[in-house]
Amino acid sequence: MSNCAEVVIIGGGIIGCATAYYLAKRGVDVIVLEGSDHIGNGGSSRNGGGVRQSGRDPRELPLVMYGIKNFWPTLSEELEADCEYHQDGNLRLGKSEKHRQILEGLTERAQKAGLDVTMIDGDEVRRINPYLSGEVTCASWCPTDGHANPLTTTLGYYKTARKLGVRFITGENVTELRKRKGRLVEVITENNRYGAGSVVLAAGLGSRELAATVGIDIPMQPAMLEALVTEAQPPMFDQMLGTAEADFYGHQTKHGSFVFGGSSGLEGFTRDNGTPICYSKTAPCICRGIMKYFPHLADAKIVRTWAGWMDKCADGVPVLGTVEEVPGLILAAGFTGHGFGIAPAVGDQLAELIVTGNTTVDISALHYDRFRAKI
């Protein structure tokens, strides 16, 4: 089989799989190279499943709004996989005056960008979600936010793209991008070479090192995030939850279990053994965080905890789009822990960019050369 394709995508996560799918749908011939043994093995299957607009930076907001309007509601049917998408709103909770200030700032910025998001008080919060403790005094409320299942969504994109003829190769670790006559045309792996008309670099954290092989730097660094899941509980609520200080975030899944992620304050400094590995103090900390908001869940049993690296970009939003210095290269990295909800829109817009040279949504604010020193 030929190792050449119109587009080679590096990274079999949700960004790579979604881009492959939307390209294949447009009739483009695609190869996806995944370095690990599994599709969707990075943040794609380790995140909390938020499909959120609220709380996002205005630069990426149009893109995620586009995705929520055009892709998420029909994604399960389109991918023939239960993505478990729920559009039942997002509550970002606050317990103090400081929290209120944070939330008001976020809300104001999002409203300016045209998002339907409001500040509500504690009673209103408990009307929406009666399980929340009395400690919650305010929240931002975005009714068009929601959540989905990142595992089935990622694998759904993979499955459908594969069915459309996309060639996925796992265990194929890319070591170098190579330009010929001024254009990026070749992808070198430990074992093979792949020729490409265009290369989409969507390899999460690993993107930095690979981009460097053609002289491009994406300023990002790893942070170890952790999440956990409970045993199944009777159905309680459908909203996505977050907090002003990101103590935890999460939702109840269709299965009945609660998936929660959270912060220990030490992510970014934890040591790993080459794989994302849980830190012994984090899960207890997340549990304490959750119980302050949901005393009701104190007896729910945790069945699994896990960790994942986040590709934390210097300014908190992804680097997306073409790179003038390296014709043929399209970047899609640095999603900073919120790449899941935005993935359908990213995949579609990158596909459109590759096929037509343009995007429906303006993504120029996410261009790679935006980084500046502060003075």
Binding site: R271, D272, N273, G274, T275, I277, C278, Y279, S280, K281, P284
Partner: protein
Amino acid sequence: MKRYDLIVVGAGPSGLSAAIEAAKRGLRTVVFDENEKPGGQLFKQIHKFFGSREHRAKIRGYVIGQQLLEEADSLGVEVRLNATVIGLYQDKEVVVKLADEVVHCKGDAIIIATGAAENMVTFEGWTLPGVIGAGAAQTMMNLHGIKPGQRVLMLGSGNVGLVVSFQLLQCGCEVVALVDAAPKIGGYGVHAAKIARTGVPFYLSHTIVRAEGDDCVTGVTIAKVDEHFQFIPGTEKKFEVDTICLAVGLSPMSQLLKMAGCKMEDNPRRGGQVPICDAYGRTSLAGVFVAGDVSGIEEASSAMIEGRMAGIAACEYLGFMEKEELAAQLASQERALDGLRQGMFAPQNRGRAVAETEEGIAVSASLLRHGYISDDEIERFPGITHRAGVHPVMECTQNIPCNPCQDACPKGCISIGANITSLPVVVESAECMNCGMCVASCSGQAIFLVEEDCGDDTATVTLPYEFLPLPAAGTKGDALGRSGQRVCEAEVVGVRSAKAFDKTNLLTIKVPKEYAMKARFFRSMHN
């Protein structure tokens, strides 16, 4: 954070043995076990163990458990029960659930001795209540005093299936059949023989088609399988049972090691996912050792030795012992382990068909196929001799590492010799005094004392008996042959129970003399 020299996870035979060796040499040692009672599987093992004296042979498993615990206690090992290790993190940190809190502690060395989990097979209806693991059956009957069922079908003829079937019989359950898809019995022949002679039928090359029942098991259908393990239509047999017991092998419980980033391999010879480790249990993570079933499925006897070796290796790792000393201390353990890994059932023979004994005698085909040695096969084995007066008849026909019988006879009638796996032979020059020690000492219950001709056309057979009720002298009934079929009338003429017999009663039955070499079990008329 609390720091120990050594943290052992699992208070089974290997974990306790490791802790004992470490504590002996001055290591501050803690053992965590999730169970309410220590000892791991030992407390469910009510049979006498095989091996030699140094392997604690002929001692019942649960007694070995008590001995290990007492020794650990006396050495100051801290054994924490109801202590579930929920994770093994970096830097040899263990997080333990104790009562209503989690405790973080670190060990300079860690020994993982978490044992094994049962494998399962699927068939129609396998999720019905009443389908249970063999371990579940053992737990219920030997720990909690509850019969797992009234009528039980056992799937699996490995040692677990055989041992548990016998235990089911001992607690008063009926075992309707012992079934295995393999064409021959997987476990020790002596374990099979003691079940077969009670009348339990063996169905080799058979497996379960379906469990019957709506809310719980009310029956089971089995059928014969061909060499590709496919059902042969028309061979179905149905049994009314309330319990189906699955004993289809064990897998190492190595999740903690994997979670901690230990290098693992999938090794079918060791039973599945195991850490890559050396002979002393050293894994790819410095200071993390393994012992027992978690590093490869074997018997409790070898688990104890592996535990000792890992414990000793941890001592050296932590500087409690010099390197030169290590080799010397490990050498004797290695020899002991080597001794256990000999014979027909040695790891290197797994999956191989052994046709002849070390002595060059053809293995009993009937034993492998039906669970008992046929009458025409028995005479070729060296434990069977004929002479006037009472003499031992040792129906021990496979080379397994076990020799308590030769020590048991005060008169020296029995010899195994230097090679522990050799078949026992009768020493012609020695005179049997009918003390019964050999009968009670045989972990396989394969030794009988026979007087072939009492002078009145009768013979007596003294057999091991571990059932209730114990028939009294004068009880009349049937003598059963090795196959469990009735061979003749019999009367109990003697019942011996002695502390030295360790709960194995000796029943002497009188039978017509032509049945001296056929009668091997007694069933009273009331049963």
